[in-house]
Symmetry: C2
Subunit: 379 residues, 2 copies
């Protein structure tokens, strides 16, 4: 059931030259090309340069005549800016790219990183929670981050106020990674500037977004999938019933990550999200030992994985229908609420290989939208 | 799996005359006759009067030559005292006896009750927790007791300080039952005298202990099994990691009762027991609706019970060995820590009918001790 969190590799090779890295960056920065479409195009065309050549034709056949991929110059400018800011590029499929993150279905093809390499080499735990954390909440975040750090785990969080900041502070010495919502060089919130500088000095900051991008609300859900994707498990310290923190958790669940939560008294609104998660099956966390117990189990499972093969109960895929008919059938199944692409594949009784090109085409046409966690919806 | 909580009856008839009730009282008040032995003797001999006649012979064959059953006079004195205090006797197997309690393996043969009949006729929920409850804890106990009361549930608790007292107070109008550790007429702690009077006035107090018995520490575990036994489910509001409350919970688990617990922040010592229970599978309770959800499910399961028959995977019982050999085999299996009698039966691969008389004999000899929840140990 559990995906192997440590050794997933995409079915295409990472860039081997500067030119190839530039093509990768151009491809992922091209309009309407998100991580999922990047993966499809690479799988179909083998390398980014070929995919970039095919893109305008693909767009044209999708009815978009004016399509312009990201230009050579724009990608070069981003690379120059990154160099000036001391950021280095991490490409999916390389040994330096975190293997846990590589295992998620929409792993970022390119990450910009500022800081040390060491934190990314250790097993990681995400520690997330309320921005308006109580003093109990920040104290708990500190205690967990310190305890996990001393046991050799890197703490991953989002550099937000409250729980995130407390978790980063407490793990500066042992290993901390801040996943940024905007460009890796854009500190948000600005009150965490000193902390952000300390993290790039002693830990690591990273982002899949273009350098210098100022984060907007829509950038945080994709950012949260990276926090969860890097980690073996996600620990929620405080979270209101309706909070951004719970979005990270939903992503973590989609990615098969273990969820843990620190409970609180029901009259405390900041415990609402955590208590709900526990009711829904998250492990209740009282102290660092409860987290370590889960992490040790996950690592033991990795060492002695379940020998059962992939799920083979799905009906055999049928012959693919022609494109317009398939597009119609896909649209019939989609609504404004995102559904899992896997579900779509099952509902259509077709192979992923038949459906993927259609989805790429429909995304280029702007009639289908992709969401983190392998979800798609009507635009 | 779940026992039917509503319609269990012992395999012997309740007393039908005053004389018979007196015999019941004498039998359960006789030395070394606890509820489990009472059940066995009644099952074997059909009525209490015969069991009383057999007792001295049984004791003699167990090597106790000076055995004296409870005298006629002593039992009559207890009945007179009860009458004077306004207590009435409830005998196991009568319609007035609560059916949930009748379903536990060591149901009290006789209960003394002071108060109204109504609370015992409604479905019951146990609400228990810390004596040194926080103000949040007592507030939560009140809110749950009030909410459950308004939905038609009677609240069962132990008249202790803190959570118990708050739960009784809040359910005086809707239905409350205090299960006493000592005699039903002995108020402990004395600071709850006014509350105890209000309960006998508007609710119900009950006890299996002799009238006027002053409770000691050893009386509370058997009392706790009655609290759990009366209820469909047990809700724990606050409980330290090592607390008497958790004894009630262990009994409740032995009896197949649903356990629910209100979480708290891990730094709060009074949340330790509850958080542990939740980690171990208890349902996390945030508000009355969470409790009602479980109660509705339990009642629905009662209305549509699992159709599967009793577990028939046990090996067929063998022919019973002779008594000394059986006693030796039982002693070999027992230690100072109580184990389930069911386990003993399985380990010996013998029928309950073969083992029960041996256990009665060994209890009379004082070499075996019975504990609440169908447990036995070496004395």
């Amino acid at each position: 059931m559990a995906k192997d969190l440590f050794s997933s590799h995409p079915p295409f090779t990472p860039p081997t030259s500067e030119e190839d890295r530039l093509s990768w960056l151009r491809l992922i920065r091209s309009p309407r090309v998100g991580p999922a479409t990047f993966h499809r195009l690479m799988t179909e065309h083998g390398c980014a340069a070929t995919a970039l050549e095919v893109l305008p034709t693909l767009a044209k056949s999708a009815g978009v005549d004016t399509y312009q991929p990201c230009s050579h110059a724009a990608a070069e400018a981003e690379i120059d800016l990154a160099r000036a800011k001391g950021a280095r590029m991490l490409c999916l499929g390389t040994d330096a790219y975190p293997h846990t993150l590589a295992s998620i279905s929409d792993a970022p093809p390119v990450l910009w990183c500022i800081g040390k390499r060491a934190p990314i080499l250790r097993p990681m735990v995400a520690l997330v929670g309320a921005r308006n954390a109580s003093s109990l909440g920040t104290r708990m975040a500190r205690a967990l981050a310190e305890g996990l750090g001393h046991e050799g785990y890197t703490i991953v969080s989002g550099l937000a106020r409250g729980v995130d900041a407390a978790a980063h502070h407490a793990s500066l010495k042992t290993g901390t990674i801040a996943v940024m919502g905007g460009g890796v060089d854009v500190i948000y919130p600005t009150e965490n500037s000193v902390l952000a500088a300390a993290i790039s000095d002693q830990g690591l900051r990273l982002s899949e977004q273009p350098m210098s991008l100022h984060p907007q609300a829509r950038h945080f859900p994709p950012r949260n999938r990276i926090i969860a994707g890097l980690a073996l498990a996600v620990v929620v310290v405080e979270a209101a019933e309706k909070s951004g923190t719970l979005i990270t958790v939903r992503d973590a669940l989609d990615q098969g990550r273990e969820i843990m939560a620190v409970p609180g008294h029901p009259v405390d609104g900041r415990a609402g999200g955590c208590n709900r998660l526990i009711r829904e099956g998250a492990t209740l966390v009282r102290h660092v030992e409860d987290v370590l117990e889960v992490l040790r189990r996950l690592q033991a499972e990795h060492e002695h994985p379940d020998k059962s093969g992939p799920d083979e109960t799905h009906p055999a895929p049928q012959v693919a229908p022609d494109a317009p008919q398939l597009h119609r059938r896909i649209l019939d199944l989609l609504g404004p609420s995102p559904v899992a692409e896997d579900q779509l594949i099952r509902d259509l009784s077709l192979s992923a290989a038949a459906i993927s090109p259609a989805l790429v085409m429909m995304e280029m046409q702007g009639i289908v939208r992709r969401h983190p966690g392998g979800l798609v919806s009507r635009s």
